[in-house]
Amino acid sequence: MKNRVSAIFVVMCGWVVAGGIVYADLKKGHYRPEELGSMRQAARTDLSPDSNYQVPAYPVPAGDLAPGEGLQDVQIYCNTCHSPRYITMQPPLSTATWEAEVSKMNKTFGAAIPEDNAKRIIVYLQAHYAPENRKQ
């Protein structure tokens, strides 16, 4: 009887010690190296007490348009009024919607994209930014 009690006592002590070891391992911090992001803190700009209220230039981060036929037309014509992020920000859109968007830029907003270029732009957008083919 006494032996059994002490045996249980020893086992329980063992459990506590083992539990402590496992727990210590669980709460250990894990770290891994990673690229430092490009978003740095902004330095203060010099302010003078004159009447001009100025802020730094607005950043335009590099876009990531899909490579392919028509990309150059997109870069030349679409970029006049807006950056390519206006394209990549959209959800995948149907081929009819992309056609309507390019047509709107020409007819409603006066983009004056020549017909051949507009066609290439539409084909490019339909080939990379529709539900069935969008990758990025």
């Binding site: 086992v11 063992g14 459990w15 010690v17 083992a18 539990g19 070891i21 496992v22 727990y23 391992d25 669980l26 894990h30 891994r32 990673e34 978003m39 740095r40 803190q41 902004a42 009447s51 001009n52 209220y53 100025q54 802020v55 730094p56 230039a57 607005y58 950043p59 335009v60 981060p61 006049t80 009024c81 807006h82 950056s83 992020r85 206006y86 990549t88 920000m89 959209q90 959800p91 995948p92 859109l93 919607t97 968007e101 409603t108 907003f109 006066g110 983009a111 539900p131 969008r134 990025q136």
Partner: protein, 432 residues
Amino acid sequence: MNLTERCLSRRSLLKSFGLASGAIGVSRWLGSNAAMAQEPGAQKAVESFTGPGANPHWNSVGPYVAEPQKVPLILLTDRPVQLETPRHYFRTAFTPNEAFYVRWHLEGIPNAVDLKDWKLQIEGNVNKPFALSLPELMQKFKPVSLAAVNQCSGNSRSRLQPRVPGGQWGNGAMGNAMWTGVRLRELLDMAGVKSGSLQVQFQGLETGQGPKGLGSNLFLKSLDLGNPVLDECVVAYLMNGEPLPMLNGFPVRLVVPGYFATYWTKCLTWVRILNAPDENFWMKTGYRVPDTPRGNTTPDDVKAGNVKTVPIERFPVRSFLISPDGSSKIPAGMNITLRGIAFSGFGRVNAVEVSDDGGKNWVAARLGEDHGAYSFRTWEMPWTAKSPGRYTLAVRATDEKNNTQPDEPTWNPGGYLWNRIERQEIVVGNAS
């Protein structure tokens, strides 16, 4: 010491105690398993786009970007600039200026305004046109302050099914500020609006590359002179007691309480009285909604050309759960506080209800301080999940005109007027 070595050394230690089986029991008892003891992987980034299904996230999915006078905000577009406010900035009734969302239409936006040259001009069909400098605006008129929500017409556009083109906002194209400035009515009275005038048009310093006369050249908005909202409009030079950030419309912006932000002209410089209806793109074609309840229609009806539209106006009642946001587990039995905001363009919010069973049963939340009819109103509610599992929290608000948030989606080609009841899944874990 790498992972394998560490595991081996622990095993040998346990063996020396002769208690390997006991340790397995202890591991189980601690809720441990092989996955938990493994080294965690790197935090994953959110996907780069959503669709063709609805955006499942509270915010949109763009990267963070640091713009002048702003904390890092979610980038929708960079030129022209559109930035969304991350969810956690809505814990308080007033949204900090540096976190306030940004939406421009044309790429020519000011980086600088020289106040020795800048003047607000009241012109058009008036008896006495005039121009006022900022000091004149600040000193010649009694300042008025009012808390008002500024919400983009396309807020939550990424929820619509089918998806529609346009800024793919999550829920963060909104903010609440204490606006201080001059009553628009005083300026109109001073100029003397001629009889027969119809509308008042607002123009800021925003310009585009498009040909003159088109929407790609100027962004212009107008309100009917008979609209009672004109009595509530303020030409604001202070936002939360500070000058406006350039991206939010320094030096003054129009505040149209209860109305979508499309009318809140930034860098307001021309107030023009018209004697004919404004037919520019941004009134006649853009920012219009079907003349139906909630602006609801279908793609087929649009295609058939039988949808009558009207200019968008007031925003419908909405409410949000801000915290917890579902990104962390909550131990069962812990008494936590649910917090959020509610607002309506039709008047005071006087009830917010919360459900923890996906919308079957509702319990009234406690409302925070009342900052006025057009402000965010905070709400909170204590909540305890007794057992582990997945809970779908839902929140709905009712305003003083008895408008309540519906549980049905809405759809229109512009992606406007979304105000469906919001839901958030919360994971409750075992606490022992």
